[in-house]
Amino acid sequence: MLELANEVVKRALAAGATDAECTIAEGEEFSANVRMRELENLKEAGSRGAGVRILIGKKTGASSTSDLSPEGIAHLVKSAIELADVTNEDPHAGLPEREELGTISGDLRLSSPDVPQLETELKIETARRAEEAALSTDPRISNSEGASFDSHTGRHIFANSRGFAGEYRTSYCSLSVVPVAREGESMERDYWETLARGFAGLEAPEKVGRIAAQRALRRLNPVKVETQKAPVVFEPRVARSLVGEIFDAVHGMSVYRHQSFLAGKLGEKVASETVTVIDDGTIPGLFGTSPFDDEGVPSRRTVVIERGVLKSYLLNCYAARKLGMKTTGNASRGLTGNAGIGHGNLFMEKGTATPEQIIGGIRNGFYVTQVAGFGVNIVTGDYSQGASGLWIRDGELAFAVSEVTIAANLKDMLLGLEAIGNDLEFRGSVAAPTLKVGEMTIGGK
């Protein structure tokens, strides 16, 4: 496959490109779903595809295909070359410089040999055990959307005309359960999930099922509270989404277009002094780790916010050139097209307080366990989302709350982060501990 990628690059140059880059991806997926103790869905398949992006001077063209036959590859190259005709000269377009290219050495533990060898029966049984644990937690868990076991193995290949050629393999498996709790007229669901590079890294199915059930149960019989201003605590699963908003705001493409409330704020205080946000694509075994980014630049560790001060944006080569900076190795794309920007393992550093201490210090506030909606405007920082969770009364989680909104401006939320928990866990490529925002508007009755 690496040869094929090199071959595509060579053919593009022969067809008139002055530079070219080729991505090839291969993957095998498996999924088993068990619902109400019966096997419901089973899926297994593999696919692959190739993409090429070419430059002719400062003009670009791109194409992709799932047809890797010789005719398919010939068509792929021809399509990309043709398209350079319709684009404009872009003074900032181009590949990374040779000295920027490279790959991290050493075993990043992105692929586990146990994943492709797992027996189908074991995978089904694992899902069955997780759902069984959820269903037997409490008689109010009387229904379920099932438990799923998913696994994936993949191979990622990238080559360009400046001499880069690299590949890496990945694997993951995940187990998730979605129980439904019912009491009288109230019906609520929630989920819990465990995800790892290999089967051995998964949490026990019984634990996953039990946590999912407890989460669904605690949402029963919710109240819609009065409209008010109050402190809001985000549990880690939701706090992650706030770190995701920070990513959108330091995304190099948004920054050069001035469509981010953090554009032009490098070196300024943008968050409470206790806040440090890091993007690290080099931590072995984690989900945001890779040896090189999608332009062939080595992944690295970038401090985004340090003790409240904005230190760096996340950049690919293009955004870096637009801003007069250097790439941070955050290029990301599918099979083809101009590179976008992605994150490695993006997280907020943990603080010292336990979640119990944070909740314990609040007389009247909202502990948010779920947010919903598209009400985050990165241009202005305006934040307005649907939310549900538990009400905090006198330092205790008192009752379930739903059908309310939480709103503020992200600038104020970051500056107003009053507490950061010590419970940081990587359950995906974005991670955050429990967070407390001093005040938000809760829209309810």
């Binding site: 619902r35 019966e38 419901e40 869905n41 089973l42 899926k43 297994e44 398949a45 593999g46 696919s47 595809g49 670009t60 791109a62 194409s63 992709s64 295909t65 799932s66 047809d67 398919g72 043709e82 398209l83 005709d85 319709v86 684009t87 404009n88 000269e89 872009d90 229904n143 439904v180 109230s186 019906m187 609520e188 669901r189 277009r257 001035h258 469509q259 099979l335 097209g337 101009n338 919903a372 909606g373 598209f374 009400g375 405007n377 241009v379 202005t380 305006d382 307005s384 989302q385 649907g386 739903s402 309310v404 909104t405 939480i406 709103a407 503020a408 508007t441 809760i442 829209g443 309810g444």
Partner: protein, 476 residues
Amino acid sequence: MQFSDSLFATRFHITRQDLEKYLSEALSHGGDYADLYFEYLLTSSISIDESIVKSAAQGVNMGVGVRVIAGERTGYAYSDDLSPEKIRKAAHVAAYIAKGPSKVEKFDLKEGAHHNLYPVLQAPTEMAFAERVDLVRRADRAARAFDPRIFQVQALYADDLRHVMVATSDGVLSIDRQPLARLSVSALARVGDGPPQRGHSGGGGRVELSFFQTEKTPEHFATEAAREAIAMLDAVDAPAGEMTVVLGPGWPGILLHEAVGHGLEADFNRKKVSAFTDRIGQKVASELCTVIDDGTINSRRGSLNVDDEGQPTRRNVLIENGILRGYLQDKLSSTLMHAEPTGSGRRESYEYAPMPRMTNTFMLAGQSDPADIIRSVPKGLYCVSFGGGQVDITNGNFVFSASESYLIEGGKVTRPVRNATLIGNGPEALKYVSMVGNDLKLDEGIGTCGKESQHVPVGVGIPTIRIDRMTVGGTA
């Protein structure tokens, strides 16, 4: 289109005998039903940013999905290689789900009649790129010309042409050619060095390229995006709490998609996990509300001649004068629930098994003059555009996020307000609809609906409506 003329027969030399053979293979371990979904997809996209056409891309993606149903069980496999060995291998993998003798013995594939909702002779995807590039250039120019305070414009044009073929063990053989095109524009406005505001607009459908030259031009979308960005420059904080909300016509129909549409998809109701479970015949909305899901409207983004299980699409009444009438069905759920098919089985691509999905979801027009609706509100919020929505089908709570809205004060639309999310409960929210306008409008053709990580194009529509009580998530 006839099977013999289809790309699958002419280019890939697939015969009816092949299809029958693959279906037999899929049912070789037993099962009640099997189907094959062949797809050949061509895509293209062009984008402009800072008045520079920075990217143009095209792609080819093809494959076949094989599904076997045995009772409530589904086995699924796919291949991106259309060679006989690979298709047979996929059929064999999908067959793993079933045990015992098959109930299906003979396949007699018949091509049924179906709609011709998008008689597009030449799909945009098949045209020269140069003509399509012009669309984003024109959009960029028009947005910038709208007002000197517009300082950033991005426009994206994308189209695809999907050839599909469905063959089922029920004997359905169905072929369709599905063109789809869309143009979207976003603009940023600011005064001096002040904070920027954003505006967005877009649209399209299953249309020829001439649609963008004569009906909805790049200038139309560009002006709309620029207008929204400029309007938001004066925005004040949105209110918080329960109040009267008036939705403008068209895209605000996303309310229906979230509040009722998803909750009425049959899979959730078969499993009894929807807030609408077992509520057919009950009152779930004010009697002014009749909500339809119609996959048969000409040229619409959400329309299909046949669904992704080979069933002709239909006009389905979901709510009639406030009473819940029906669910949206796919093959699996309609069989298990002994219900009529509704032509609602859809999938993102050959990599996925189909599920019940919406097509074009809208509320029928009522009697009220839209101006009277606004005049009737002493204090409230008037929402004309939304960013997107989401629903928890189990408790029924839905949100939809307003990107352009205004205060109503003393029966008049006054100041624009900042983005705010609205929240409500599906089976309850529409009970508070007290006025329905006579101005039903469908959206411009920009919607994409996500469910269990599968994305499909959809449409929505609504007349101006007044909702007496809804929670608004502002800060004021």
